[in-house]
């Protein structure tokens, strides 16, 4: 149950959740502080993975994002509810704006508008794996690597968990295709990685988990 909820949150962050599911989830978000905090962390992780903001910036940043979300009136409990037709669109846009604003505020970085993967999939007919736009510059300032002792375990663990959820959401055919590339890469580079059996174990792991 909890995994399903996490998966939905992950999909919401990536803009890959169906509208009806998104509306339901956003209502739950408005009622649960824990869920709201988790959503904030997922947004942070998503941004970290996409833009290489180090996830090691820790729980403090996540907490600040969560606080920013709390302050956002759109999500306060007991707010005047908009018309049903607008219910689907406005919370998503509002949430995206709040998170974008909060992240821009805490990172001091300019935040270009993001085209969601689902939109791009519709427009270009591609199987999009994640929220990622070519317009996002990779030359954006990048944080230095933090020492392991500065890492926030909860964020790190959730990062790994989110990567898994994201992989599970990929189209099965695309999963097979990518797994084939992973295997080919591991075979080709096997003698270059300490020359141990590790690359071969990866191959077995990827094949078995397929």
């Amino acid at each position: 149950m909890r995994d399903g909820l996490n998966e939905q949150l992950s999909a919401l962050v990536d803009g890959e959740l169906r509208e009806d599911e998104a509306a339901l989830l956003l209502r739950q978000l408005g009622r649960s502080e824990e869920l709201k905090a988790r959503f904030a962390r997922y947004c942070l992780i998503s941004d970290a993975l996409h833009r290489n903001l180090s996830v090691a910036t820790g729980s403090d940043l996540a907490a600040r994002v969560a606080r920013a979300l709390e302050d956002e009136p759109s999500y306060g409990v007991g707010q005047h509810r908009p018309a049903r037709g607008r219910l689907l669109l406005r919370p998503v846009a509002g949430m995206a704006l709040a998170v974008t604003g909060a992240l821009a505020m805490v990172t001091m970085w300019p935040q270009p508008s993001q085209e969601t993967a689902s939109t791009r999939a519709e427009n270009e007919g591609v199987i999009a794996a994640a929220q990622e736009t070519p317009q996002q510059s990779h030359q954006r300032p990048i944080e230095a690597v933090d020492a392991p002792e500065r890492a926030a375990p909860s964020v790190a663990v959730e990062t790994a968990a989110r990567s898994q959820l994201q992989w599970k959401r990929l189209d099965p055919q695309l999963q097979r295709q990518l797994t084939d590339y992973l295997i080919k890469h591991s075979e080709r580079s096997a003698t270059g990685q300490m020359d141990t059996a590790l690359p071969y174990m990866r191959i077995i792991g990827y094949e078995a988990g397929q």
Partner: protein
């Protein structure tokens, strides 16, 4: 009065000199200790790379990434200067890998499928540990500019005493390693791949290991060899390590330390008739990144993904699909993928 002042000034002078001398001595001792630790760490790593190449061993290993856990039996034989290795999965679907030097044979017994492939890279740290003075100078740069080593205290793995060694990346374009190295044999007993947040992305760990003097050839034979069954075989493409074919593509923004080790063409999708792909292979001496370029298919991939230690980035450009794969952070594969373009005055392959 004047003599008393002179005396005080003299005492201050000598006190200052003593403090400076003590500080220099302390600093010098610290520098020497750091240098010694660095040399000890390199020596330990060198011992491990030698041991994994030249030691017979048999063991059971666990491999974990995400929520996937595999138990694998490993047999490693060194005979007449050649390495033979066999890995068998002990849980989940039957999977087997037979390695003979650089050639890998993947066997799926229940699916009657066999695929061969060839590794293309030189052994890692060859540059660092070759003994050649020129290469040794380059090795200094390797440890200073790309990774650093940390020697840690003892531990136990698989009932054996182990030394711990950290390989720490000096930028955010590669992962780090935590290694547990057997005191007795020098073999790698446990390895954790560490991301930029200090989290473990994947782990391998021996739960039992032995190092017999000889290993019978029979231990390296596949479990099933039912000749009556027709096996689907995919043979290794003929490629030579170090091949650098010409390409119509270019990469403009390669992270520091990565060097092109191979550029050629190879079959995709297990070679089951899905055509060829252009393959570029980069290495920084430890981490590796592959770039695949092929005509855009029915299911283009755009964006990023990560599975265990391996990050993947995909984009389409001029009706071609570019896929970058490597056991490196997502930022590395994305940076490489986004900086790819078609060379001027050239058409895509």
């Amino acid at each position: 009065m004047k003599r008393a002042n002179e005396s005080r000034a003299g005492r201050r002078f000598w006190l200052g000199a003593l403090v400076c001398w003590a500080a220099c001595l302390s600093l010098g001792t610290q520098v020497q200790a750091d240098a010694n630790e660095g040399q000890a760490a390199q020596a330990l790593l060198q011992r491990m790379t030698h041991a994994v190449r030249f030691t017979n061993y048999v063991g059971v290993c666990v491999y974990r990434f995400g929520d996937n856990l595999q138990t694998i039996r490993i047999v490693h034989q060194v005979k007449n200067g050649h390495r033979h290795e066999r890995l068998v999965s002990l849980n989940g679907p039957e999977r087997e890998i037979i390695r003979a030097d650089a050639q890998t044979t993947r066997i799926h017994p229940s699916e009657h499928f066999i695929a061969q492939n060839l590794a293309l890279l030189n052994t890692p740290f060859d540059t660092a540990f070759s003994g050649d003075p020129a290469r040794a100078a380059a090795a200094e740069g390797f440890w200073d500019n790309i990774y650093s080593l940390e020697l840690l205290g003892p531990d136990r793995v698989a009932g054996r005493e182990a030394r711990r060694l950290n390989i720490v990346p000096l930028d955010h374009f590669r992962y780090g390693y935590r290694l547990w190295i057997d005191e007795r044999s020098g073999l790698l007993l446990r390895s954790d791949l560490i991301d930029e947040a200090g989290a473990s992305l994947e782990q391998i760990m021996f739960t039992a290991i032995e190092t017999p003097d000889t290993i019978p050839d029979q231990w390296l034979e596949p479990t099933r060899s039912d000749e009556a069954t027709t096996w689907h075989r995919v043979h290794a493409p003929r490629m030579q390590p170090g091949t650098i074919m010409a390409s119509a593509w270019r990469i403009d923004d390669l992270p520091k330390g990565f060097k092109l080790a191979f550029r050629g063409r190879q079959p995709v999708q297990g070679g089951r008739g899905d055509g060829f792909v252009e393959h570029w292979l980069y290495s920084d001496g430890l981490a590796t990144v592959s770039v695949y370029i092929r005509p855009q298919g029915k299911h283009p991939f755009s964006g990023w993904s990560r599975r265990g230690a391996v990050s993947t980035f995909g984009r389409t450009l001029d009706d071609y699909q570019i896929i970058v794969v490597g056991e490196v952070p997502a930022a590395t594969v994305r940076r490489i993928g986004e900086s790819m373009s078609v060379r001027a005055q050239a058409t895509a392959p």
